[in-house]
């Protein structure tokens, strides 16, 4: 038995003493989101979003704003729907046949689920970084250049070189790989691979970057580098990040949304959520009583 599970066991015992067993917790009613879902300068707005996987409802009537040039963290226990929600923001769920989405999703007041909008165009504006680093089995250079190439953003080799270099620099990877741009991207370490994936996303110059637990497969040092990077990137890009680590959410984000069983329980400024949570469920989660 590891130390962590023992610690959790203790927590459970404590809550039992406080007369708040786990079953009681989930019975607390989730009628309405508490806190503030609105942002002064919203880049993306989602209203009354529902997502079904076949008959199962994965997202239940969620509304929130994603503030421009800031980091919005989505936290919550496993299976609460935060990744599903994030994938709705650039229509990655379109590839899943049984997935059914309703509600209003806008990017700069433009409906992203409009019939005449090509998801390819949307994904060029809303990039995504995945949980597991997934560089293409190609050279580092080709990995970064791929997006620019397929979108026809460049006219000649010099422009492409420029894009690759600046993207790698922004992702803080250039100095480490500048001598081996033609080596395969899969040969890098895990943290470097994830930064390569970020550079690859930046190279297309998106407006929003979605990150689905970008540091969960990385060691603490690589995680710290990624977190620093996220902090720098928010000056240019709007970022939404799903994370399991509450410390990470507290460190990198300005806004935090707490999801629970497909519902948005609470949303607000990160410092408020972590110091003065209004909802009992949020409090229990961030103090580590369950999750």
């Amino acid at each position: 038995m590891t130390a962590i599970t023992l610690a959790k066991q203790e927590q459970v015992n404590k809550t039992a003493k406080n007369d708040l067993s786990q079953t009681n917790l989930s019975e607390i009613e989730l009628t309405q989101t508490v806190g503030n879902i609105y942002a002064d300068d919203a880049k993306m707005s989602i209203r009354n979003a529902n997502v079904y996987y076949g008959d199962k409802k994965a997202i239940d009537n969620i509304s929130l704003d994603i503030a421009k040039n800031q980091v919005t963290a989505l936290i919550g226990p496993s299976g609460c729907g935060k990744s599903t929600f994030l994938r709705c923001l650039n229509r990655m769920n379109d590839t899943i046949d049984i997935c059914n989405i309703t509600g209003q999703f806008t990017l700069d007041d433009e409906d992203i689920y409009a019939k005449n909008l090509d998801p390819v165009l949307l994904r060029a504006r809303v990039g995504m970084v995945f949980q597991k680093p997934n560089p293409f089995p190609k050279s580092i250079y080709d990995n970064v250049a791929y997006g620019a190439r397929i979108h026809g953003l460049i006219n000649n080799k010099a422009e492409l070189d420029e894009i690759v270099e600046t993207s790698l620099q922004k992702a803080g990877l250039f100095n480490e790989v500048k001598d081996r741009l033609n080596d395969p991207g899969t040969g890098l370490s895990g943290g470097q691979q994830q930064r390569l994936c970020i550079a690859r996303t930046i190279a297309v110059s998106p407006e929003v970057i979605l990150m689905d637990e970008p540091a969960s497969a990385l060691d603490p040092i690589a995680t710290a580098i990624i977190e620093e990077l996220i902090d720098e990137l928010k000056d240019k890009y709007t970022i939404a990040i799903v994370t399991h680590s509450m410390q990470q959410a507290a460190r990198v984000s300005q806004h935090t949304a707490y999801f629970h069983m497909g519902k948005l329980v609470e949303m607000g400024k990160t410092e408020d959520i972590f110091t003065r949570p209004s909802h009992k469920l949020t409090e229990n989660y961030i103090t580590g009583r369950f999750g």
């Binding site: 650039n90 990655m92 590839t95 046949d97 390819v120 165009l121 949307l122 994904r123 060029a124 990039g127 995504m128 970084v129 995945f130 597991k132 997934n134 560089p135 293409f136 089995p137 791929y146 997006g147 397929i150 979108h151 994936c197 690859r200 996303t201 297309v204």
Partner: protein
């Protein structure tokens, strides 16, 4: 866990009536090891047994095939006399070179032979004597004279092929009168005479690789069938590879999941199990009779074999495409790549090694296929080497089938040699596929 700890510490309450867990485990461990050993032995035995069978097969075929690679030749003292050649009245209107093509070389051959054996008399004996030589010998004389016309009216020495029965007799040294060998005591004496005067020589049989099929075993070669096989395979690969890969990509990446797709899937799997002769019937009924394509042509053979190879390639390609990690697809989609771009710049290159393996299995099957080709007339006796996909042709396995069916003893060796050539061709195809595969995997 706690129980184990207690037992390990030796302070269990009921150690009296139960043996400790460690002992139990070690007991079962022995059993498990025995099982593992037994399984390893069975596995090793199966591998060795299979290997042994292959060695026996190859060894047997090779030993039987060896005689086909040599051919005995005999040295004849030939005199190209004008009277023997029936070329007495050549003039400017009727030039010598033109007459040389029409001259009677059979007569020259016979007369020269009778001069070498002056004591042979009587029609029967003379016929037996000339039967020692291949029926092709007169053409050797003709080619020789046309190549160097100055030999006209002169004596020279020419090497000609011996007959296949004589050849087999010299190679195998069967006792005389053996069934199947038609060599008489007298003929054997003549041969001994020729051998003692160093007039018989065994040479490498080049014509086996440069000639096409023939009724005479000493003249029959593999080239026609080999070219037919290569042309047929070319058509098969050209049709089945793009069609198979496109079909697999569509079914895996683009097709909507519905009843129709399921129905198509089931039918592709069923197609792989259809007896190949049925495809031959289809080829005969539809491709030849309905569309009017030529019979016995590699084009038709290739189309029929494509029908047979297609399901193999589709099934293997789909498995390879399925094995491409979804994270790669997501990464490309997340960058804004269209479905087409994802498929062609990521999925296809990643799946290529598997697809190539499937294609090679399919083509190797097609290379060894006989039954469907019999139905479309590729079993015909064809003496010319096919030069295009609409010429009449036969293929290696059908050639093997035809030779195996022939009564002449020398065709036994030819059959084995043709099998060796077929196996070598398969080996070459497999090797090149392995090389191609590793090239794609490196990328």
């Amino acid at each position: 866990m706690t129980k184990l700890n207690k037992n390990l510490n030796g302070d269990s309450n009921n150690t009296m009536d139960t043996i400790s867990i460690t002992e139990k485990v070690s007991l079962s461990l022995k059993k498990r090891h025995r099982k593992e050993k037994r399984f390893k032995f069975i596995g090793l035995f199966s591998v060795l047994f299979g290997f042994l069978l292959v060695v026996i097969l190859i060894g047997d075929i090779t030993s039987k095939a060896l005689p086909a690679f040599t051919q005995h030749w005999v040295k004849l003292d030939v005199s190209y006399q004008a009277s023997w050649l029936n070329m007495s009245d050549y003039s400017s209107q009727n030039p010598m070179t033109k007459q040389m093509k029409k001259a009677n070389y059979r007569n020259v051959l016979k007369k020269s032979l009778y001069e070498m054996f002056p004591d042979v008399s009587g029609r029967k004996d003379k016929r037996r004597l000339s039967k020692l030589l291949s029926s092709n010998a007169e053409f050797t004389l003709k080619d020789n004279l046309i190549a160097s016309p100055k030999l006209f009216e002169k004596k020279t020495q020419v090497w000609v092929r011996l007959d296949d029965d004589v050849d087999s007799y010299l190679k195998e040294e069967f006792p005389l009168g053996e069934a199947g060998l038609r060599i008489t005591q007298q003929q054997a004496q003549w041969l001994a005479q020729l051998i003692s005067s160093d007039s018989i020589e065994s040479r490498f049989n080049f014509s086996f690789f440069t000639a096409s099929d023939s009724r005479e075993p000493e003249l029959a070669g593999i080239k026609g069938a080999l070219m037919g096989s290569l042309l047929t395979l070319f058509v098969t690969l050209l049709l089945s590879f793009p069609l198979g890969v496109a079909g697999a990509l569509y079914l895996e990446e683009f097709a909507p999941r519905n009843r129709l797709t399921d129905f198509i899937e089931i039918n592709i799997n069923n197609l792989a199990a259809v007896p190949s002769i049925v495809f031959g019937l289809l080829g005969l009924a539809v491709i030849i009779n309905l569309f009017g394509l030529p019979r016995s042509a590699p084009l038709v053979g290739g189309i029929v074999l494509t029908l047979m190879t297609l399901p193999t390639i589709i099934i293997a390609s789909r498995a390879a495409i399925k094995a491409v990690p979804p994270s790669i697809r997501e990464a490309a989609l997340g960058l804004g790549a269209s479905k087409m771009q994802v498929t062609f710049s990521h999925v296809l290159p990643q799946a290529m090694p598997g697809i190539i393996t499937g294609a090679i299995i399919g083509v190797a099957q097609a290379l060894g296929e006989t039954a469907p080709l019999l139905m479309i007339g590729m079993v015909a006796f064809i003496v010319d080497v096919p030069s295009s996909i609409v010429d009449s042709a036969t293929v290696l396995p059908v050639q093997i089938f035809l030779w195996a069916d022939s009564p002449e003893r020398a065709f036994l060796a030819k059959t084995s040699a043709a099998i060796l050539v077929l196996l070598t061709l398969l080996l070459i195809i497999n090797l090149s596929a392995t090389m191609l595969r590793s090239k794609f995997e490196k990328k």
